[in-house]
Every structure is written in C-alpha cells, then in structure tokens.
C-alpha cells in the first residue's frame, strides 16, 4: 500500500510573489465594472513576471529584414506554447513557473564529441547577432521579430557530427509539475530538421528577442528559430539536441501527419487540409497579405529542396 500524504497546496496554485504583491492594484483595476475584462488584460504583466535582462552587444546581420517589427507587447502575449495551455495568453500566464537557470542542453547521438552545455557555455560559443526575421505561424498569422542568437551550425560543429548523421532532433523541456498533464500532443514536444537545414546559416540558436533574454513564454532560455518554416518547427526551451540517421519523430507530425509534414516549409500553394495558406495576417495589421514562398526566404533556402516535390514533402 502506498501511503503518501499529498501536499497541502499544488505548486501550480501558489501565486507568484510579484502578482501577489500587486493584488490591491489588481482588485482596484478589476473594480471598474464593465471594463473588468479589459482591466484584467492590462493587469497582466506584459512580459511575464521575470525581470528583463538586456543582451549586448549584438552584431547586426545581413539576413535581417527592414520591415516594421511587431509590437513587443504582442509578440510576448500571443504565443503558442501548448505545454502551458492552448489559449494564446496561457503561456504568458503560466510559463513563469518554469525554472530557466540553471539550464543544460545535451548534444548527443551521432557526434564525435557528445556533451552537455550549460547556458553560459552555450553563450560563449559564438558572438550573438540580432536577426530580424519574419515568423509565419501555420495558423495564418505572422510577426516580425528581432531575435538574438547565433547560427545553430556553430554548436553542431563544436560536437563534430559523424558522417552517418542525417537529421537533428530537438527535445524540449517537459515538467508535469508545472505544465499541462493532458496529452494534447506527445510530451516532451519534439521537433526536427534535416542536417543541411540545421546547418543553414539562417537557422538560429536563439537566446533573446528585442535585445533582451527570451521571456519564458517565448521559449526561454534557448530555442531555435527556422524562419522559412511554420512557427511550430522552431522548438522552444530545448534540453537536448540529437543527431540521428533516420527522420526523427516530431510532435505535430505525429499528432496529424496529413496536416503537418516533417518539412513544413512555408508554402502558399500547399493548403493546410483545413484552411488555406495563401494569405496571412501580420499581427498589428487589419488586412491579410499574401504569404510568400519559404516565407520570403526562397533566395536563401530554395536550393535545399531542389528536385523535391514540395506538394508531397509538405
């Protein structure tokens, strides 16, 4: 017989200190009758509970777009991070529970020098660049975000991939104590790239955005950003990177293979089975705009897919 007294209070029910200390302010705001809903929205800290830390110096990059950046308040409050809930503002509300220090990333599999890196070791691998990329979500919206990071290739080269390595799998953080236990997707969330995609200079190992460290809800403390693919390919809060020979399991592909292919390159000509991908709404804009092939990065990445039928390998 198992005798274990459950804790009096779930960790998930403990109010973060910052929110607790702001309770009177919150109540005062919430008391405004009809505007209560609006007040709740404003009552949420726009960037989560953690204090922002600046990342500097950041080198500029020729890969950056000069399009208008998405408002940082939007980019940090409208997120898909299903471990923290499927609502767009759930990650903002819940991700602060995640401990992002200390943090280690295991790099393993078909490499000559498998090893774990802690966050500071990772940050020392290469100079940080600011990369202003378009981000296109498979749901039909897009943003322009200034990321801070360096090419994933720098990390991969440090561990020396073996000749048999053909793919890279990203395993992300999962902790049932602080994340949803419902099997919405298979946890931990996994993603993957072909090795040549992972080594592409645009594939960014990312530590920050808008000049500061990544907010928790955006995948702190380290994620990848693959700007020519739908957003879900850019795995958040990575704990392991595996080099493998076979195409790895990826969360959305496993969930609905007919809807989310392994490649999932942004492609206006290949519809999602349930909605068109021809247009997108740039967050902050009213009208839809046409979606571009490879999210507008065809010049940089189209050669990776030469001779491939992109309707078959969607």
């Amino acid at each position: 017989m198992l005798i274990r007294r459950p804790a009096d209070i779930l960790p998930s029910e403990i109010t973060p200190r910052a929110l607790f200390e702001g309770r009177r302010d919150f109540i005062r705001r919430a008391g405004l009758g009809l505007a209560a809903g609006a007040a709740l929205w404003h009552g949420l800290p726009a960037r989560g509970a953690q204090a922002a830390q600046r990342l500097a110096p950041l080198q500029p990059s020729a890969f950056s777009t000069d399009e208008a950046r998405t408002d940082v308040g939007h980019a940090t409050t409208y997120n898909n991070f299903y471990e923290f809930g499927t609502g767009k503002d759930d990650p903002l509300r819940n991700a602060h529970r995640m401990q992002v220090r200390p943090w280690t990333v295991r790099v393993e599999g078909l490499v000559n020098k498998p090893r774990s890196f802690d966050l500071d070791e990772l940050l020392r691998l290469a100079p940080l660049e600011e990369r202003i990329y378009r981000l296109r979500c498979v749901e039909g919206w897009s943003m322009v975000i200034p990321w801070a990071g360096f090419p994933l290739a720098a990390l991969l080269k440090a561990v020396e991939p073996q000749g048999s390595a053909k793919y890279v799998q990203f395993v992300t953080h999962y902790d049932a104590e602080i994340m949803t236990r419902r099997p919405v997707l298979i946890w931990p969330y996994t993603e993957g790239l072909r090795l040549d995609e992972a080594l592409h200079q645009m594939t960014l190992l990312t530590f920050g955005m808008y000049g500061e460290v990544l907010p928790h809800q955006n995948g702190a403390p380290v994620r990848v950003v693959v700007p020519w693919k739908y957003g879900f390919k850019s795995a958040k809060s990575i704990v392991a990177i595996r080099l493998v020979e076979e195409e790895p399991i990826t969360a959305w592909n496993r969930y609905a293979p007919q809807e989310y292919g392994f490649y999932s390159n942004v492609n206006p000509e290949v519809s999602h089975p349930r909605w068109s991908q021809a247009t997108e709404r740039r967050i902050g804009e009213l009208r839809r705009r046409p979606t571009l092939m490879f999210n507008g990065y065809a010049e940089q990445v189209a050669q990776l897919y030469q001779g491939m039928d992109l309707k078959k390998y969607y």
């Binding site: 929205w41 939007h74 409208y78 499927t86 498979v138 349930r274």
Partner: protein
Amino acid sequence: MNLHAPTPFQLAALKVLVLALCLVPAALLAHGWFAGTLGANPIETLQRGTGEWTLNMLLVTLAVTPLRRLTGLHWLQRLRRMLGLVAFAWACAHLANWAWLDLWFDWGAIAADILKRPYVTVGFAAFVLLLPLAATSNAFAIRRLGGRRWQALHRSVYAIAILGVVHYWWLVKADVLKPLIYALVLAALLGVRAWWRELERRRQIAAGAPQFKGKVIRILR
C-alpha cells in the same frame, strides 16, 4: 411576484432584462475592439467570441423546454423565440466578421473556404438553415404556417446545433476540450428530449392508444 404566473408587465420586464443580459458580451467585445484590448489578433478574438456566443445561445435556447418541464415555470417558453433570435444575431456577427474583417470580402477566398474546407462548409450550412427559422420567428409566421408545420420547421434547430458543434470540433488544431464540452451539453439537451419522448410513447401504449406497427399515432388536439 408569483414565480409561476408573472403578470404581463412582469413578463415584459423579464424579457427586457434577459435581452439586456444577452447584450453584455456583445458590448464587451465591441468595447474591446474600440479600446484595443482584444489582444494581438483582435479579429481572431472576435471570430472566437462571436462563434462561442452563437453556440452558447443555441444551447440556452435548447435548454428552455427541459428547464420548463423540470421547474414548471411555463412562462420560460415565452422567452425562447427571443433567445433564438439572439443566437441568430450572434451567427450573423460571426459570419460578418469572417467575410468582412477576416477576408475583406475576398469572394474567391470565401467561396473556396465554403466549398473546400469542411469545417466552413458545415458552419455555413448551419447558418443557412438558421435563416428560415429567424424569418419565421414571429406571430404572423406561426399563424400563417400553422402550429404543426411551424414546429416541424423549427425542429431543424437540433440539426443546426449539431452542425455548429461539429464546426467547432473540426476547426481546432489540437485539444478538443472546449468543443467536447459543447458536445456533451448538447447531447444532454437532445438526450433528455429523446428520453421524454420514449416515456410518452410507453405511457400512450399503456393507456391503450391507437398504434400502427408499434408506433404511437400522435393525436393532436
């Protein structure tokens, strides 16, 4: 106030009160739109909000008959037409938001969605089926059609509600928790009708009502 027999004045006041309550979520969404507090993607927030309120009001409308039977508050029936029309108004807002704010009257995209995307197809079908119900939600139409035909027509609300829930179920990317809740509530509301019907059938058979191949022939008074 006698809860079982409100005066005409009390009933009218009740109607006004219920209608005002129904308008609160619409006022909140409208306020949010103009105040810029609907989040990063306000058009999506409106699309979700109007859709969920269409379903909410359809389920509220379908709850009137069971509630009346359980509580004996027969005047609840007098609110039903208005509640149904509120559901229709939400459906109109949902459709308008989609065709106007989301797709900006891009008729090609609208037609392609209706024809090619099953979740849009069923949602649109539900809206089209709502049109005759809304058009006949008045005393004149009831007199014109006759109670029996009017009732037969308005039973299509069962199919409309099912299509509405299917529409929601098919559009979510993953995590069908919310559509599942709607489906369960709808199943309960339709199930209790089926069960009562079965009880009535048994009662009539026991009472020696005329039958034809085991079916009770309904005798309308």
